[in-house]
Symmetry: C2
Subunit: 340 residues, 2 copies
DNA sequence: AAACTATACAAAAACGTTTTCGTAACCAAG
DNA sequence: CTTGGTTACGAAAACGTTTTTGTATAGTTT
């Protein structure tokens, strides 16, 4: 087992100084053709690779972007990561991903770990628990130490930094407007509890759409789900006792479960009930019937986030604090769960 | 914007030496109670955090595990990552994840980047392109430099290291045996092209099961799919012209698409056609009907992989080269797409 | 009083780089 | 023969730690 080779090894072996080796490898013209070739040949032979850690320490930058997401098991986040990776790699940055598993503690631990030297900047979607706690000290402190942070999707108003968000309200409104346009009048809303930012915003969109059609809100058609992982029965029994001809769900899972429930009632989709979900993932695409859904352009979000972050990193003129919030448009993907 | 604070800053501020500060913070009894408290108070006040990069350089270890997976957008890999994270975090290791996007080049780049100082060891599932190329120099070289590597799921025989695999053949065989047991006799196999390791192994399992039942292989019932991302039509037309009463698919997507095709033919599932897929992901769980499937226990794989790697890392007695291959059992999850 | 022993701290080395500065050797010009 | 300029290299500092070694002061033995 060969050990990792360093400049020092090369220097000793060739009986020259470390600085000469370093310069030779970088093609510095200060070093004679002769020595340069000799060093390069030796380095190649022994497969020399500069130690990144040492470089990071020296340069005080790591060329690494840290991404922290609430859950890895999520199509939308996976897409965002793709976008981030594309832009990052193009610009010579490495991407490292950590998941907070929606836990406040893990988010803090990951954040502090990565903030103390391992990365140059953060792209972050805030964990559910953190949003509940409303404790953002780890984030704000890191920002105040000069490390750029870009928030996406699950953001918080109290944090001053660049943000990439989806216009959730608008997307939801468009979706519900479409349900209304194609004839639905009693539209069920399957949403999350209020402290979940995105659930809340999408709920707003639902309300606005109804208002735009001058329909009054029937609170009994709204179900706020707490336990996302275990809500199949809840949705089923809720839908059993209602009269409705449309469903808007704030995520894919709710939509798919609703579809199942409706089919159990022997109602036809989309003729008796039209359904629209949120997030264009695998489920919507492969459900039966395929689901009309609001797409969030996750990859584009990732790209934008990475662009913003890298721009900040490479133009670190201090003092000039200016934060941007970019809103990514949603798009309604028409499939078989709605008419027209 | 406060700068990041270092030992040097503290030392200068309190007019003592750097070593005293370091020792004081670590509670070294060589330092007087007085000084110790003063330093700790100051450090706390200014939120001092040791620089990880410097620590890594000094200790020549990073307490970081690098995970490279072929695609992030994949339920199975996401589950494995969960398992890895759980074990890693419990042992004080950080996990960083990179995706190769199934590209050989990206795999090599990620690998070399992380191998040169950023991580202590690797957990890796080999990219499709790499398996095709059969070029594993980046991996074998890293191993020979003393960095532990654990391969999982998509492994290669030519690489000597610890491996965690699923008994794909056995899992597939069990599945097909189940189809046979519940009455199917003409069973379609939807698989991938041969160089994909897992597809190949699962195909073997299919063949073995038929042999166990003394059935002869009907090659016309086997479809080898090249373009996984774009195979809906292919599956549809293949199934249109065949006689069959069972389908075994080597992944979730194929199974779901087959389900759709069968329903289009107005055959009933599971009565006319029984279907089993591979991988227990979202699709199988939420498809209509829900799909019987072979579960790979992804989290368990991740846990095992992390355990193996950490064990190697913490018992670096050189010389002793011993590699283990752990086989994780599969489990047939019974759902609505099969009888009984 | 000489010789130890604690105590409490400082200095320096090391991890692997890069880069600035210094300098020996050589040659040309005055 | 002195000065100046190249050429080709080496020394050293720096990044932020930890740790080993060194040392001044004070107190304790004999």
């Amino acid at each position: 087992m060969r050990q990792k080779i360093t400049l020092k090894h090369i220097a000793k072996e060739l009986d020259i100084s470390i600085s000469t080796v370093s310069k030779a490898l970088k093609g510095n013209k200060e070093i004679s053709e002769d020595t340069r070739l000799k060093v390069k040949a030796f380095a190649k032979l022994y497969n020399y690779k500069p130690n990144n850690i040492a470089l990071s320490l020296k340069n005080r930058k790591t060329k690494t972007i840290a991404v922290i997401i609430p859950e890895i098991l999520h199509h939308f986040f996976a897409k965002v990561i793709r976008g981030i990776e594309r832009v990052a790699n193009k610009n010579g940055y490495q991407v490292i991903i950590c998941s907070s598993n929606n836990s406040f503690d893990r988010e803090v631990i990951n954040f502090e770990m990565l903030a103390s030297g391992s990365a140059d900047g953060f792209i972050l979607s805030i964990a559910k628990e953190t949003l509940q706690n409303q404790d953002y000290h780890h984030i704000t402190e890191t920002i105040s130490q000069g490390m750029p942070v870009v928030l996406f999707d699950r953001v918080a108003d109290g944090i001053f930094c660049d943000k990439i968000i989806v216009d959730d309200t608008r997307g939801a409104q468009d979706a519900v407007m479409h349900l209304l346009a194609q004839g639905s009048r009693r539209i069920v809303l399957l949403t999350t509890v209020d402290y979940i930012n995105v659930g809340n915003l999408r709920t707003q969109g639902y309300l606005r759409a109804l208002k735009a059609y001058d329909l009054e809100i029937d609170e009994t058609l709204i179900l706020k789900i707490e336990d996302v992982d275990n809500c199949e029965g809840e949705i089923l029994s809720f839908l059993e006792e209602k009269e409705f001809d449309g469903i808007f769900a704030v995520n894919e899972l709710f939509a798919v479960l609703a579809t199942k429930a409706v089919r159990l009632q022997n109602k036809s989709i989309p003729d008796d009930v039209a359904i629209i979900g949120f997030s264009d993932g695998l489920l919507s695409k492969h459900a039966s019937p395929t689901l009309t859904t609001v797409s969030q352009h996750g990859e584009q979000m990732g790209e934008k986030a990475a662009e913003l972050l890298i721009h900040k990193l490479e133009n670190q003129q201090q003092g000039l604090e200016e934060y941007r919030t970019i809103i990514i448009d949603t798009e309604l993907i028409h499939r078989a769960s709605t008419r027209e």
